[in-house]
């Protein structure tokens, strides 16, 4: 049985005003289920980041509704949306966005710290999350002491530490070489096996495709194709990530 983590209905998002006004999303319908890794691909400016922001409750849609685990986000104010994010959504960004003055372990713990609560538990969970991404030995390292790939793995640990039901990643491998990109994707694919999480990854990178359970294509603010079952079950998956 699969659980629907996010349900987006008739999403419209208008950005900018006057001559700069752009209808970045045009009536998008989408639901993400637990245990699935969904890729969103499309040309530059097609609305990928905008859609990810709407799904992640960072942007409120101009029209339509987003439900996170059955809870509607319509009418929530900025604080309520933040609360929804910290409890349900994990983010991974292209440029990592780690805190340079915090160690790897502290960066991971931060995702729990913003929730308040027991800091001893948070420490233990952060250690576990770092172990999941294979970086236990770098817990005390600062971001500047880590390679790009390691930094992105710390960011992945931060996204999963709070048991978020949705992990959203915007171009997570774009800043990485193929080897590191592959390692990060392996990790995300592993995380996606967990039926309590839905993974949604925006990418330009065709090398990621073998990891996907589902591939969406967006063009000019509309989803133009939605393919399931091509990725993980396909023989492509066995191929090396690096071409």
């Amino acid at each position: 049985m699969t659980t629907t983590m996010i349900e987006a209905t008739n999403i419209v998002k208008v950005l900018g005003e006057g001559p700069a006004r752009v209808e970045a999303l045009k009536s998008i319908n989408l639901s993400l289920v637990g245990g699935e890794l969904t890729l969103l691909m499309g040309p530059s400016g097609s609305g990928k980041t905008t859609l990810l922001s709407v799904l992640g409750c960072m942007l409120s849609p101009t029209g339509g509704t987003v439900e996170i685990r059955g809870r509607s986000t319509t009418g929530l104010d900025a604080e309520e949306l933040a609360a929804l994010r910290r409890d349900n959504v994990g983010f991974v960004f292209q440029s990592y966005h780690l805190f340079p003055t915090l160690t790897a372990a502290e960066n991971v713990r931060l995702a729990l710290d913003v929730r308040g609560g027991c800091s001893r538990m948070a420490r233990i969970k952060a250690e576990k999350a770092l172990a999941t991404v294979g970086l236990s030995h770098k817990a005390r390292a600062f971001p500047r002491e880590l390679s790009g790939g390691e930094q992105q793995r710390v960011a992945v640990a931060r996204a999963i530490v709070g048991d978020a039901s949705v992990i959203l990643a915007d171009e997570p491998t774009a800043a990485l070489d193929s080897e590191n990109g592959h390692a990060v994707m392996m990790m995300l694919a592993e995380i996606a096996k967990d039926p309590t999480r839905a993974l949604f990854i925006v990418t330009h990178d065709p090398r990621i495709m073998p990891f996907a359970d589902r591939i969406l294509r967006i063009e000019d603010g509309r989803i133009v194709s939605d393919q399931r079952g091509g990725g993980r079950t396909s023989p492509l998956r066995a191929l090396k990530y690096a071409s």
């Binding site: 922001s53 992640g56 960072m58 604080e79 933040a82 994010r85 966005h97 915090l102 713990r109 929730r115």
Partner: protein
Amino acid sequence: MTLILTLASRNLFHDRVRLIATAVGIVFSIVLVTVQLGVFLSFERMVTTMIDHAHADFWIVPSETKSFEDSSLLSGRERLQALSVNGVKAAVPAVVGYASWRKPNGGASTPVLVVGTPENSAGLQPWNLVEGNLRDLSLPEGVAVDRSYFDELGITKIGEHAEIDNQKARVVAASSGIRSFTTMPNVFTSLERARAYLGVPPNEANYFMVRLAPNADAAAVRGELVAHLSDAEVLTSEEFRHRTRQFWLFDTGAGAALLGSAILGVIVGTIIVAQTLYSSTKDHLKEFATLRAIGSSQIYILKVILSQALLSAVIGFSVAACIDLMLVRATADAALPIVMTPELTLGLFVLTLAMCAIAAVSAIRVVTRIDPVAVFAQ
């Protein structure tokens, strides 16, 4: 422990140059405020030392007297009228006025404040005598001055002669620690001699210090005194102190100048701290946006910035307190020593915290406007 303090302190110590700028701003401002307020306190205390050391239940003072140092003369009838009031035990005259002190051996002259009360009257006598004694003031030409003014008065030891307004004076006693808040030394002498030095006719005086009989009803006596005395006012010591303070601190503008510079110090300090905090926040804007993206509340972010401000306050205050302590020590013997009280110290700490909290406002305004989608901007 939450990461709020960790983030705040790392942000703070991450940029040493900015931390130093912040600390310098706080130290500058707090030290300036301490000096001004310390001098103000010192001044406030010193302007009333004479009244503090007088033994009076009430003061009969000429109408419209502004300060202890500066009053017109009472005719002397007031004393008899006061003594006729039931419950008044004594009305001790005091003569106060400026005169010119000529140093021995034809030296230059310097202005002094002459204070005269009857010998053995326990009205207003020099205190803390370290050489000679009060009885010596009844010796011919006897005056008492403070040891710290010997140089200024051209005196090397007691027994030496000088002139006050062309009349002979001989230093027969020396006190320690009776400092004047003006540049003019105090000279204590007997009532008669003070009248002679200052040209005050017999019976006349600047003040009559009223002492009550035991068990007298102070309020009733005061009422009677006021009813009897038409050209004079009747003040309690506290009222006289207040009036004297008011005159020196505010009517002369001295206090306002001190408070004004203190306020200026606070403003300058606040601006410096606000500047550094603001630019630090700008530098870390991406991180604050990330915090917001991963779901932190506004409050969490405000706490980070406020912690940063308050940590700066603690660091700045600690340095300032050390400097203040040195200043207090260094000025202990000066005419106007910087006074530090526990209340002032606590007040300064609270002021530092408040200053930094206010300084955080502009930084806070910046972070409250952060849009989490900023994290997607490459």
